[in-house]
């Protein structure tokens, strides 16, 4: 039988129904034991959204649309991931802490940790089971999705960085009066920025002014050169000769820039070497006053700075547009879509910044970390404003999503996850971990055992179904075999669960007598069983 024939490796319906049904039941049961209800629900939704995003990013039929949607969905997924973990911690933290005695700390931490892991496990299980329906976890798709998320993050990251830098500069400058490090940095910043934007009045500043003029003129010339002015004028005989006019203006700007660049060092030498009095003596009185007025005017400096910025922006934008129109629409859509999505995300975050920050502050104040809120969160908010803080939080959440995509692709690249069974393996691992940690909460024993057996059944039915789909194809009748196979697995699991129930009865009794000895004995027993199994194999 040839395994290399590449049939569509869609698993048959019966196996798929087993995987999804068992996962849904167990996730519902396990999440019932978690007290952070809302975080749990957000986690489940995030799992579905993550699988949907992966599928969208590999949607061949509408590539551009799929990329845009995957990119825009990146924020809900990222926020969902953060809420599922952070939200559980916050809501449980409020519930469990502060503990009354020193001995209560450890159980509280274990409970907190267990609940977070149960929520994360359920998230993984839902993601894996959803992904398994279409087989969307493969190297190519995960790589594409990672690229989309990275490019989506680029825009809010850049905006957050700019806002942060501005906030930091403003803050440090305003701090110049406070003694200590702030004073040093604030003074340094003031020394750098003041001669440029806010010069001392009553004296000439020809050198710096010339430099600024040169920069602005060069940027304007470049921007003018980039604009398609002559292409926009109709090609008729009576059309104005725009080309020549533009060339004249551009040449003027260039020469102004060069002249200013030449003047700058000479003027600098004169200003430093001669001093203001000699300069005033050398120049006619009217001219000196005029130069002082022009070169020291802060408004003019600001205008030149903005001219420089707008010239640069125009040339970059035109270069970008020129590149864009040369590419195919689909490619442009795919490449640009994440940036557009990032822009949308940035705008959305900025729009909801105020209420979001308030909500976070209220949630944090309810936890034992209320003191930290007063000490760190509020001052940061005062300095940087709610927009910057929210944007920074969104960027951190997006980075966590990038790290998830990275972990997935590393797992696929190192074959810890096989492409064919990646979805069901993730679902089973999530369920198994969640069930194991649920045992430490007040979960009924039957649910823990059902979770452990169910995780194995999910993996077994999924991988068996995938192999079946690969070898026989989904067109053939396979239900009988699938049911028989899954029935066998469930039966074996039942035996295992019964053995566990019996063993735990024994263990509970023994632990009541002498806990450490019993645990040690059980570990020895286990090692012996492992060795026996290894020998049998």
């Amino acid at each position: 039988m040839d395994d290399t024939i590449s049939l569509p490796t869609r698993m048959p319906w019966t196996s798929l129904a087993t995987v999804i049904g068992v996962t849904a039941l167990l996730v519902a049961g396990l999440l019932g034991t978690v007290s952070a209800d809302r975080a749990a629900l957000v986690g489940v939704a995030t799992g579905v959204l993550l699988a949907l995003s992966l599928w969208l990013s590999g949607w061949d039929r509408w590539q551009a649309v799929g990329t845009v949607l995957a990119s825009v969905l990146a924020l809900p997924v990222a926020v969902g991931l953060s809420l599922a973990t952070g939200g559980t911690v916050v809501s449980l933290g409020a519930e469990l802490f502060p503990v009354t005695s020193q001995a209560g700390v450890r159980p509280a931490v274990v409970t907190l940790l267990s609940q977070v892991i149960v929520v994360l496990g359920c998230l993984t299980a839902v993601f894996g089971a959803t992904a398994a329906t279409r087989g969307v976890v493969d190297t190519e798709r995960v790589g594409t999705y990672g690229g989309v998320v990275v490019r989506t993050t680029a825009v809010p990251f850049a905006v957050a960085l700019v806002l942060f830098t501005r906030g930091a500069v403003d803050f440090l400058q305003s701090n110049a009066g406070t003694p200590g490090v702030q004073q040093l940095t604030g003074e340094a910043l003031t020394q750098v920025l003041e001669p440029i934007f806010d010069p001392v009045p009553g004296r000439t500043h020809i050198a710096i002014f010339s430099l600024l003029l040169a920069l602005a003129a060069a940027a304007l010339a470049r921007g003018l050169d980039a604009l398609p002015l002559s292409e926009l004028v109709p090609e008729t005989s009576d059309a104005p000769d725009v080309d020549r006019a533009v060339a004249v203006v551009e040449r003027t700007f260039r020469w102004t820039g060069r002249l200013a660049l030449l003047v700058a060092p000479v003027a600098g030498l004169f200003e430093l070497g001669l001093g203001q009095e000699s300069l005033a003596g050398l120049l006619p009185a009217g001219l000196y006053d005029f130069i002082v007025a022009v070169t020291a005017a802060p408004g003019l400096r600001g205008l030149l700075w903005w001219l420089f910025l707008s010239g640069t922006v125009v040339s970059v934008a035109v270069w970008f547009l020129r590149r864009t129109v040369q590419s195919s629409a689909d490619r442009v859509g795919t490449v640009l879509a994440p940036y557009v999505g990032g822009g949308v995300i940035t705008l959305a975050v900025v729009a909801v910044a105020g209420p979001a920050v308030d909500a976070i502050e209220t949630a944090l104040r309810a936890t034992p970390a209320a003191a930290a809120v007063e000490q760190f969160f509020v001052p940061i908010l005062d300095v940087y404003g709610p927009e910057t803080v929210t944007l920074a939080l969104a960027v951190v959440a997006l980075f966590s999503l990038i790290s998830v995509a990275g972990q997935l692709s590393v797992a696929l690249a190192t074959s810890y996850l096989r492409e064919r069974t990646a979805g069901v393996t993730l679902a089973a691992a999530g369920l198994f971990g969640a069930s194991a940690f649920a045992a430490t909460l007040s979960t009924p024993t039957w649910l823990v055992l059902a979770g452990l057996v169910g995780a194995v059944v999910v993996w077994d039915a999924g991988s068996f179904g995938t192999t079946l789909g690969h070898e026989v194809g989904s067109g053939a009748a396979t239900r009988r075999t699938e049911l028989v196979h899954t029935g066998g697995t469930v039966a074996v699991g039942g035996v295992g669960a019964a053995a566990t129930a019996g063993l735990s009865g024994v263990a509970r009794g023994s632990i009541a007598v002498e806990p450490s000895v019993a645990v040690a004995g059980l570990v020895v027993c286990l090692v012996a069983v492992l060795a026996l199994v290894a020998a049998i194999r």
Partner: protein, 462 residues
Amino acid sequence: MHRRVRRWSGGLAAALFLVSVSLLTAEPLLLAATAIPLIYVAYGALSRMPAGTDLQATRSVSDAQPTPGEPVAVELTLTNTGSSSLTDVRVIDGVPEELPVVEGSPRLCTSLRPDESATLSYAVMAKRGTYTFDAAAVRVRTLSASDEVTVDLPVAGDGTLTCSNTVSEVPMADATLPRAGTLPTDTGGSGLEFHSTRSYQPGDPVNRIDWRRYAKTDELTTIDYREEQAVRTVLVVDARPPARVTPEPGFPTGAELSAYAAERLFDALSRTSVVASVCAVGLASEDVPGGLGPDGLAWVDASGGHAAAHARQIFDSVGRAAARQSDADSAGDADVSEDDQPEQPGGEATRATTADGGTIEDPALLAVLARLPPTAQVVVFSPAADDWPVSLVSSLSVREYPTTLVSPSLARGDSLGAAVASTERTARLQRAELSGATVIDWDLDSPIDVALRASLADLFSV
């Protein structure tokens, strides 16, 4: 082939995970729960293929000698003749690679108790030639799927499918054939049927002098009979890329069906001693053994030796060209096959240059016209997927060649595209008919002989 699949080894890792969580959280239940993964590991390790496993397979083919383009139902019955139940038996029938499966799947997965049988049914599309089924591939797994055996199981029963491409009998045995190989013309001369009389000219044969008239009027008169000239029949097969369209995957292409119809007509004509030439248009030189002629046509004249063998080579070449095209299509863009659909600029160009009385610029068409002998009946075989055959037929009619167009109908299914293609083809056939040709619309659902009989009867009653 026996193979062990280590699919339960993850259980050991799961057991270790449970131990570590148990120690971390001081939860004895989890330590006991290591029984669950460990029992699965044991389940996988201990599960073995039972001794005395035995399977038998029988295949039945509904029609071992179908006609091309006909679906043939195949059934494979698998019986567990061993003593133990088999929970997971997977079988793939050894369908010949060339035959596409058009219905059902030749694969099955089932569980079989002792003496229980399972049947696998599917249908393949028949193609010309003889095809042998391979042994069925069978894979048996244990319940835990950790032990598997793969074998090639010899299959009893039908093992071949033969799709004959020659006619066992002349299909138009009952067709009226007034005089094989001759065409009555409108000029007087020697013959059998009275045509006209004229005044005697020296040198006229003595046996054609009207002696009665001479006795009555004392004038010498010569009787002309209707002259009967032997003519050639030229079979033109349209095998250009636009004709190599197929309504659904695995179905013979228009060019192949045209060649098939031409081949059957050629065989029938050979038996009735008509002088027949064969010409295929649109082949590449690598398709034809010995290459194409200098004018780009594959042409076999009846006068040369081994004409029948050469003609058959040409018919086979059409099949090769179609196969080459479908390979190229599947290897390259899926759009290539769509490029050959009827609504193509190529067809437009041809139409523009061959309007009634207009000039003709298509090189293949010019080559056919140049090569045709002055007296010939022409039978054109084409699916009429573009306007080329209409141009050819109207050009032939203008030159007063008796022309017949045999066109296999490719439209199948109810899709919009099929409806459009079918309407366009009907319009083309009507135009061909208006230009004076006899048109045979061969509906593939009716036997090919019916269309051929109509074609031949028409051909010989001209």
